[in-house]
């Protein structure tokens, strides 16, 4: 490949990202570029797929676990006879926690390795950087993490929750089961918490819940004295927490230090999963709530098999979490779509996507062919003293994905 190609592509990417941002809609961006001729080889005994996760840099902690569960799914599928009779051949690339590297490596996977589909990405910025690559080259990305919604791309399948499958059920739980009348919002100062809180504000206005405060701290900040003072003084019925990473530790330590507890003022968090609990300190979290679609403690035969296989491969102390499960599921969903289409070609797979289901560890999930998200059951969990999370509430059935919140009259978009 011409050594200047990545740079040219980088330039084109930024132009596409910019224009799509100006247009306020990422979904249409790819239609301008002509779909390149696919170089995917389908005549051999194997088919190549790409795993693109940050195996180094600040996100490696989280994304390495996704890589492990993807690898486990690939091994299982191969042991079971592969996809359309072909063994999966994995090409793994390191996104290095840099959105630009994600875009470069995605280009490499598609153009040089000729993979049939790519699985990975974690941060919204990595996904936004890859989106124009997959649209421009008409290839497939399977993205496994809950995110802020308001996006749908023809070339991306989103197997984590969108806001109406995590944040809105979290609010429903607080309103219906906890009877809260007021809420306080605490978050890290970047795109996901800001978007999530805009949605929460709209929800609260519609449902007569008073928002007593909305506070942000820079990502990584450990200075929560004033924020917790404000929370305590406001005396809200509950706190909705969209903090990310290390800030959670400082926040919950300060929270406990100022005498606030899960009984006096419960906190619902959307970014603390099983892996994060030991880092924050179980003592600081016991009794607090999280909103996700999967917990390690789910008691179904599928999940028990998933957990024990994962522990066998990665040690008895390893835990499974929502993004890992969503990544594992994504590989099986792709398999289902390919087998339904009887083809590895992107367009055939997309056409076959509607209604493909998989009996995932979290329960049955179904692909929505229109917005490329999947129907997922929402779970509210309580953090137990052993660091695992126990379901205390679940939506009756899988919730249809609605990334743009079109079925929620109180949301008029941004």
């Amino acid at each position: 490949m011409n050594p200047r190609t990545p740079r040219l592509i980088g330039g084109m990417l930024s132009a596409v990202v910019l224009s799509s941002a100006l247009a306020g809609c990422g979904a249409k961006a790819g239609e301008t570029s002509e779909a390149a001729e696919s170089c995917v080889k389908t005549d051999g005994d194997s088919i190549k797929v790409g795993f693109l996760n940050s195996l180094s840099g600040t996100m490696a902690i989280s994304e390495t676990t996704v890589f492990k569960s993807l690898s486990m799914a690939a091994e299982e599928i191969n042991a079971d006879g592969g996809v359309l009779g072909k063994q999966l051949e994995i090409v793994s690339e390191d996104g290095q926690s840099e959105p630009t590297v994600f875009a470069e490596k995605a280009t490499k996977l598609i153009d040089q390795d000729c993979v049939a589909a790519v699985f990975g990405g974690w941060t919204s910025s990595s996904r936004k950087a890859m989106l124009p690559v997959f649209e421009g080259k008409n290839s497939l990305l399977f993205y496994p993490v809950q995110y802020e919604g308001l996006e749908a791309s023809r070339n991306i399948f989103y197997t984590g929750a969108t806001t109406n499958q995590q944040i809105i059920p979290g609010l429903d739980y607080l309103k219906d089961e906890k009877g809260i009348k007021s809420i306080f919002l605490v978050g890290s100062d970047y795109v996901f918490p800001r978007t999530a809180n805009a949605i929460i504000q709209a929800y609260a206005a519609e449902h007569g819940i008073e928002v007593l405060g909305e506070e942000y701290q820079p990502l990584g900040s450990t200075n929560f004295g004033t924020v917790v003072d404000k929370v305590k003084k406001a005396g809200a019925d509950a706190v909705f927490n969209t903090l990310n990473g290390d800030s959670n530790v400082a926040f919950f330590k300060e929270y406990k230090g100022k005498g606030l507890t899960a009984e006096s003022m419960p906190v619902v968090s959307v970014s603390i999963a099983e892996e994060e609990v030991p880092g924050v300190g179980v003592d600081n979290l016991v009794g607090q709530y999280t909103a996700w679609n999967y917990y390690q403690t789910i008691e179904t035969p599928t999940n028990e098999a998933f957990v024990s296989a994962f522990k066998e491969a990665n040690g008895a102390k390893s835990v499974t979490s929502d993004p890992m499960e969503a990544a594992y599921t994504s590989l099986y969903l792709w398999k289902g779509m390919v087998e339904k289409a009887e083809s590895f070609a992107t367009d055939d797979v997309i056409d076959a996507a509607e209604g493909v289901t998989f009996d995932a560890p979290e329960g049955s999930v179904t692909v929505n062919g229109e917005n490329h998200h999947i129907a997922k059951t929402a779970l509210i969990g309580e953090i137990r003293p052993d660091g695992l999370i126990e379901t205390v509430w679940s939506s009756d059935e899988p919730i249809e994905p609605d990334p743009f919140l079109e079925t929620y009259p109180w949301w008029e978009g941004e």
Binding site: Y173, T226, V227, G235, G259, W393
Partner: protein, 321 residues
């Protein structure tokens, strides 16, 4: 649309969840609570800056690896807690051990790198920055990338009421610890032979040398003290947050600001600057938000340093240069 699987704390009337803290307190309370928050934030800044005042202020060395000595202290606390398996004792054991670990790292850095470049401050900045990055990676290789949680002793959990305000015990402990460290440094500088030698070296290195002060030895011991204090700060910081490879670098910029605003090498200036910045931050944060308060504090520091580049107190040097 939901079905309740298990409700851990059913509320009797279904309307509220539990007893809530007092709503709508008066402005005096707000004032007091922000004073306490500011004091505790200032105490943390002071604790981190005391060691820096010695190595940066007294020695004139821009030691960017100071933050990694803080990290070493934090990991020391983690290791000791894991070995002892006793959070109650862990902190008390970790404080002196953290001091020694930080101090030894400082002496190593001084003897291995810094002593070759005492008159080249920009070079010390670059080299110690590199050393800091190396130390971060070493920590990542030893302890892994995910943050470690150091359990706090039970005698520091909860809070004490001070004038009707709940002051978290951990923060109170930090405040007291920073004042104890400060008094210790003052005592060493004022009342010991070493302190006199340090002050003589700072005032005029050549003249001190002529009257028989071994400035090499003084440098080394000062570095041990300053870096040891970073180790103590690291141990103490585990009470506030988690321990990761970058714990030090997130505090180092603010610590340098405290030393510069206070007047380089001026302990009393460092104290005033630490609490002034802590209090300003706390009140601005109450009035605005976390991010905006930070910007405003930095702006205020820029304006202050424009008006008074030497900081709150200026160094009186007897150097002829």
């Amino acid at each position: 649309m939901g079905v309740c699987v298990r409700d851990p704390a059913p509320s009797p009337d279904g309307s509220a969840v539990g007893p809530y803290p007092q709503k709508g307190r008066g402005t005096v309370d707000v004032f007091l609570s922000q004073v306490f928050t500011g004091l505790s934030a200032g105490g943390v800044l002071l604790l981190i800056a005391i060691g820096l005042t010695l190595t940066f202020g007294q020695m004139g060395v821009i030691n960017m690896a100071h933050g990694e000595f803080i990290m070493a202290g934090a990991y020391t606390a983690y290791v000791i807690n894991s070995v002892l398996g006793n959070a109650e004792l862990g902190l008390l054991v970790a404080l002196p051990v953290g001091f020694v670990v930080g101090g030894l790292l400082g002496v190593l850095l001084e003897a291995g790198v810094i002593r070759w470049m005492y008159h080249r401050p920009l070079d010390t900045l670059l080299v110690t920055y590199g050393v800091g990055l190396v130390l971060q990676q070493v920590a990542r290789d030893i302890f892994g990338a995910p943050a470690k949680e150091v359990p706090s002793p039970s005698w520091l959990s909860g809070s004490v009421p001070v004038l009707g305000y709940d002051f978290p015990l951990a923060r109170l402990f930090l405040l007291v610890l920073s004042l104890v460290c400060l008094l210790g440094v003052v005592a060493v500088l004022k009342y010991t032979a070493l302190g006199r030698q340090v002050r003589a070296t700072v005032s005029n290195r050549d003249l001190a040398e002529t009257v028989g002060v071994s400035t090499r030895r003084t440098d080394r011991i000062t570095f041990f003290l300053g870096s040891g204090l970073a180790g103590i700060a690291g141990v103490a910081l585990t009470l506030l947050g988690s321990t990761g490879p970058t714990i030090g670098s997130s505090y180092i910029v603010e610590a340098f600001l405290v030393v510069v605003v206070g007047g380089i090498g001026q302990l009393k200036g460092t104290v005033i600057a630490a609490f002034a910045i802590g209090l300003t931050q706390s009140f601005l944060e109450y009035a605005t938000s976390g991010s905006i308060a930070k910007v405003l504090v930095f702006l205020a520091i820029v304006v202050f340093l424009q008006a008074r580049p030497q900081g709150i107190f200026a160094v009186r040097t007897r150097s002829l240069a």
